[in-house]
């Protein structure tokens, strides 16, 4: 059973929900990034989404674009990223109960393809990755990776968006493992302070057409939004740009960066 199954089962029993922060590996540099992500674990993150920096992140807004650029400018390579994940895995196993902290990798297709799909997945597995989401790979192209995911026991995650039909959501649910990543907004990543009115209805529509846990991401920046998506039936919330922004805001003051990350995550983690 995958770490995600165990996590969501446990949370369900406790009537709790997953809080999943997103970071770009190596933002703004390897060491700082390592302390930031460890701090996120200490602060109570239930799982992690870690992104591999890419030169042309078309699904990302300005905040994550800038994070990708900082990581690339500090010469983070894919090899470094896997080393980074291995360090995080080791740390998480030491401090979390039952070694239970799923690590998801968010990546653009070219980085997977260039390394060789099978090698990418087996390197990811060795480093301790539990799931892979390829931002620019819809169902239609997933044949490229599904075997590698299965062979290496990595959960393949797909996005569902407001433009996905019910039929398509069912199809995605069939091919997905771990959870379904529900994109709350029409648009690229980036913090919004509130959602459009139809988000709750959309979450309900996805829940009705799927069996896996549903985590909502893109655009969440505050507790009200978390409450809104949980009330609508979501099983977890993924927060990217709002967390990455805390790094960007404190590039000159690493201590404050860690304090801000800690207080943001603990605040978001408080169940209402």
């Amino acid at each position: 059973m995958s770490k995600y199954n165990i996590l969501f089962q446990k949370l369900k029993e406790q009537k709790k929900h997953a809080f999943i922060p997103f970071f770009v590996i190596g933002d703004p540099d390897y060491q700082t990034s390592l302390t930031v992500v460890k701090k996120a674990i200490d602060s109570g993150a239930d799982a992690l989404e870690l992104g591999l920096a890419f030169s042309d992140p078309v699904a990302d807004g300005v905040v994550i674009q800038a994070a990708d650029k900082r990581a690339l400018d500090s010469s983070i390579k894919v090899d470094d990223a896997f080393r980074f994940i291995a360090e995080i895995r080791e740390y998480a196993n030491k401090i979390t109960s039952e070694c239970l902290l799923p690590i998801g990798l968010l990546v653009y297709c070219n980085l997977v393809y260039k390394r060789g799909v099978e090698k990418f997945y087996s390197d990811a597995k060795k480093a301790g990755v539990d799931s892979i989401l390829i931002a620019d790979m819809p169902l239609e192209e997933s044949g490229l990776v599904l075997d590698a995911a299965k062979n290496n026991e990595i959960d393949q995650i797909f996005l569902v968006t407001q433009t996905s039909s019910n039929e398509r959501i069912k199809e995605i649910n069939k091919l997905s493992f771990g959870f379904i990543y529900l994109v709350s907004v029409l648009g690229v990543t980036g913090a919004r302070t509130n959602f459009s009115k139809d988000v709750s209805a959309f979450i309900k529509r996805v829940k009705e057409n799927s069996t896996l846990p549903v985590c909502v991401g893109f655009g969440i920046s505050n507790k009200n939004q978390v409450k809104e998506v949980i009330d609508a039936g979501a099983d977890g919330a993924i927060v990217g740009s709002a967390v990455v922004k805390l790094i960007e805001n404190n590039l000159g003051n690493k201590e404050k960066m860690l304090v801000d990350i800690e207080s943001f995550i603990s605040e978001m983690k408080k169940e209402p």
Partner: protein, 389 residues
């Protein structure tokens, strides 16, 4: 998807989930209208009376004399707008109109596609917004002014190398956010399915006319057809009709910039490896991790690290040969054609001319070459001012 999305293993639709439904909608509209009588009557009327098709196939006598064989120029430079881009902008623009779209976005490099989109926006009364890298805004100022005059909003893109690749990134991001009412009018045979197929459909008229015209004048097929390759739309446009004619050699010319052995070029098929960029699998200029490299070419329209997937296929099956020409050689050809024929070519097209002149030296004098003169050089005059000083 209903149509084949791939050319061999190349192509596909590597896009975020949000865009899949929009690409499906676009494909359905394309299937519905491509053989529709009313649609085609309207398009053909516009191509003829608005844009000036058919374009001439001109026998360049003085150039031929210097070259030492027969050179014909397919005069897409005479098309309204000044480049082949108008064929595609009219076709897709009409699709957008039939689909009832209220807003059209596009990317542009040299500004020729942007200018064509601006024109059809004015023509159809649809709001248009064009993304353009700030480096290209600087070097293709004349086209920026044309776009603005036609009522287009030109959005300056400051990310990456601030050229075509970055303009496409921004246009895709805009489309993801505004997918419900916006039509993305893509400018070349790259991008996700169905763009490579749609753009080819609207550009293949170049080759259809060329074949008829050369059979009329020479009573035989050409020995060579040569075109420059940025994303590859003018090249596919003229090659497509000749693909089955195995004796016609097809040559695509890429920008070698400062030279293929430097890191300042845009010769994707010559120096790239297979990858995924802007929605399709194709050759890509990238580093060992798969990060996309910055490119260089004196011509903004060829300054791109990707290439249309069908070209990757045609390279691998060896139906088309892909050569390259440096900035310097292209600039010399720009000057040469102006001086001996009174035709000022676009810097993009100058690459095709330069290669044809090189090739001609090795050929018998009865050989026939058709060069796709994809556009005129007015837009480049400011950048080439040093040539006349």
């Amino acid at each position: 998807m209903k149509l084949n999305t791939k050319f061999g293993k190349f192509g596909g639709l590597f896009v975020p989930e949000t865009l899949v439904a929009a690409l499906e909608e676009l494909e359905s509209a394309f299937i519905k209208y491509k053989d529709d009588k009313k649609f085609n009557d309207e398009l053909n009327d516009l191509l003829k009376n608005y844009a000036g098709r058919p374009t001439p196939l001109y026998f360049a006598k003085r150039l031929s004399k210097i070259a030492g064989c027969k050179i014909y120029l397919k005069r897409e430079d005479l098309l309204h707008g000044g480049a082949h881009k108008t064929n595609n902008a009219l076709g897709q623009g009409l699709l957008a109109k039939y689909m009832g779209k209220k807003r059209i976005i596009a990317e542009t490099g040299a500004g020729q596609h942007g200018a064509a989109v601006a024109m059809i926006g004015a023509l159809f009364g649809i709001k248009t917004e064009v993304f353009m890298g700030s480096e290209d805004i600087r070097r293709q100022r004349a086209n920026v002014l044309r776009m603005k005059l036609c009522g287009t909003k030109v959005i300056s893109v400051e990310s990456g190398s601030r050229t075509l690749k970055d303009a496409i990134n921004e246009a895709l991001r805009d489309w993801i956010a505004n997918v419900q009412d916006t039509f993305y009018l893509f400018g070349t045979v790259a991008g996700p399915h169905p763009y490579p197929t749609i753009v080819k459909h609207f550009q293949k008229v170049i080759g259809e006319e060329s074949k008829k015209q050369i059979l009329d004048t020479e009573k035989r097929l050409p020995d060579y057809v040569i075109a420059c390759v940025g994303g590859g739309s003018n090249a596919i446009g003229i090659f497509n009709e000749f693909l089955e004619d195995k004796n016609v050699k097809l040559i695509g010319v890429e920008p070698a910039g400062h030279g293929l052995n430097t890191n300042k070029h845009g010769a994707t098929l010559n120096k790239g490896s297979i990858g995924v960029l802007h929605g399709s699998m194709s050759y890509v200029l990238q580093d060992s991790d798969g990060q996309i490299l910055e490119t260089h070419s004196v011509s903004a329209g060829l300054d791109y690290p990707g290439v249309g997937p069908e070209h990757s296929f045609l390279k691998d099956v060896k139906r088309v040969k892909y050569e390259s020409i440096t900035d310097k050689e292209a600039i010399n050809a720009f000057k040469l054609l102006s001086e001996v024929e009174g035709i000022m070519p676009a810097l993009e097209s100058s690459h095709a001319i330069a290669y044809a002149m090189k090739l001609a030296k090795t050929l018998d004098k009865n050989k026939v070459i058709i060069i796709n003169l994809s556009g005129r050089g007015d837009k480049d005059l400011e950048q080439m001012e040093f040539l006349v000083k």
